[in-house]
């Protein structure tokens, strides 16, 4: 099995398709969409942390789901008030944190402290080495976030830290570019070291959006809130979908999602 697609194969036989939650063939919307249901993700409960891993991570390992293209980790974390991850290290990974609710206090060996809140994205290049900590900045409210790891284009890059902000208007009814290989506006779009583009979008009933996929490009859609239709397949909060060999992704519904356009 191609480890680069993490086992999300559109060519799987019927039994495998059921296991992978692909639509049954008679009503299949598309051969090229594979759905990863929220409840099938890896689950870790440490008391202070509840984490659902779309792809293999830590103690959750499933060789069928080792990532999708350069998207290696996609964890949905809920961190209890005043708790978090103590100082630890990373290397050779682009690490994005998208806040769904709450605030996160971040410190690292480059700079800080930083407070990350709803409407913000943190993009950290681990490069040849970084040490950081992440704690829920609130003493009362949980922090709810997506942590995303994207494999970089090269090893041993210089570490860096970026934090960008966006408003509800920025992402409502349109795909707002959060991260890309190059940016003309570093306050609004983070530069990452991979030929990947990350968009955020909030759709409300009546919105219908189309994201064109260039030849050879792939998309992952992760639902942060609500219900979103992806090329006719209905995805709920926490669900994800891999899209390959499609000219476009059609999106509608009522909710918020991230779209990764990947090589």
């Amino acid at each position: 099995m191609d480890p680069g697609t993490g086992g999300l194969s559109s060519q799987a036989p019927d039994s495998a398709r059921q296991r992978l939650h692909l639509p049954p063939r008679p009503v299949e919307i598309s051969h090229m969409i594979a759905i990863r249901k929220s409840e099938d993700r890896g689950f870790t409960d440490r008391g202070w942390l509840q984490s659902r891993a779309t792809f293999s991570f830590g103690s959750y390992q499933d060789p069928r789901f080792n990532g999708f293209r350069s998207l290696r980790v996609l964890n949905e974390d809920r961190i209890a008030p005043a708790t978090g991850f103590g100082p630890h290290s990373h290397r050779d990974m682009e690490i994005l944190t998208y806040m769904i609710e709450g605030r996160l206090a971040h410190r690292d060996s480059l700079s800080g402290p930083h407070i990350l809140g709803t409407g913000e994205l943190q993009a950290m290049t681990a490069g040849d080495g970084i040490v950081h900590s992440e704690f829920n900045a609130s003493e009362a409210e949980p922090a709810h976030l997506l942590q995303i790891w994207i494999e970089p284009r090269a090893e041993d890059l210089p570490p860096s830290y970026q934090q960008i902000g966006f408003t509800g208007d920025d992402i409502t009814g349109r795909l707002h570019l959060l991260a890309a290989p190059a940016t003309a506006d570093p306050a609004r779009t983070a530069a990452i070291n991979q030929d990947a583009r990350v968009y955020a979008c909030r759709v409300i009933a009546g919105n219908r959006l189309t994201h064109a996929l260039a030849e050879g490009r792939h998309a992952w859609i992760q639902i942060a809130r609500g219900t979103i239709d992806v090329n006719g397949a209905s995805l709920e909060q926490g669900d994800g979908a891999a899209v390959s060999d499609e000219p476009a992704v059609d999106l509608s519904g009522n909710g918020e999602f991230l779209l990764f356009d990947l090589p």
Binding site: A82, G84, G86, P87, H88, S89, H90, R91, S109, D128, G129, I130, V131, S133, F135
Partner: protein
């Protein structure tokens, strides 16, 4: 290739030595090792003026070193605050743990001391580590270079031993 764990043990009340420990840890990562940052428990004493918030943060963020940390790591970097000695109240329990580990386990672990601005402190901890069976990694330069040198030495030792 196996990732070598390196314990980075430090004391800090106002964050200055913590910064040195982070730099040493980054050096370990540069060398493709896995640093385990451990802050020694505070042993009383007044909190320096202006340091309360930093001290409380560090008390929340770090765990203290354990025997399992030492047993599971082929190398140790200590980062003592300037003016401290292995006999300082905050370091005594840790040094006792190292002596017990040395008596119980095989020799040959590597060690280094990061200079926080006091040569006497470095010399005292270097002697203490040697007395506990550690082979000191000779380094010069900044804490990051210490971290890198230690993990490089561990990797070399691992290759030549195996």
């Amino acid at each position: 290739m196996a990732q070598h764990a390196v314990v980075v043990a430090f004391t800090s009340r106002c964050g200055a030595t913590e910064t040195l420990a982070h730099a040493a840890a980054v050096g370990v990562v540069n060398g493709r090792g896995l640093p385990r940052l451990r802050r020694l428990a505070d042993e009383g004493g007044p909190t320096p003026a202006g340091c309360l918030a930093t001290l409380q943060r560090m008390q929340k963020e770090y765990v203290t070193p354990t025997e399992a940390d030492i047993a599971g790591s082929p190398a140790l970097i200590v980062v003592p605050s300037a003016g401290m000695t292995p006999a300082s109240e905050v370091w005594q329990p840790f040094m006792a743990m190292l002596r017990i580990a040395a008596a119980a386990g095989p020799a040959g672990k590597l060690g280094a001391v990061v200079d926080a601005g006091d040569r006497h402190t470095v010399a005292a901890f270097a002697s203490a580590l040697e007395a506990c069976g550690f082979t000191l990694v000779a380094t010069s330069g900044d804490p990051r270079a210490h971290g890198r040198a230690v993990v490089d030495a561990v990797a070399l030792h691992s290759r030549t031993a195996g």
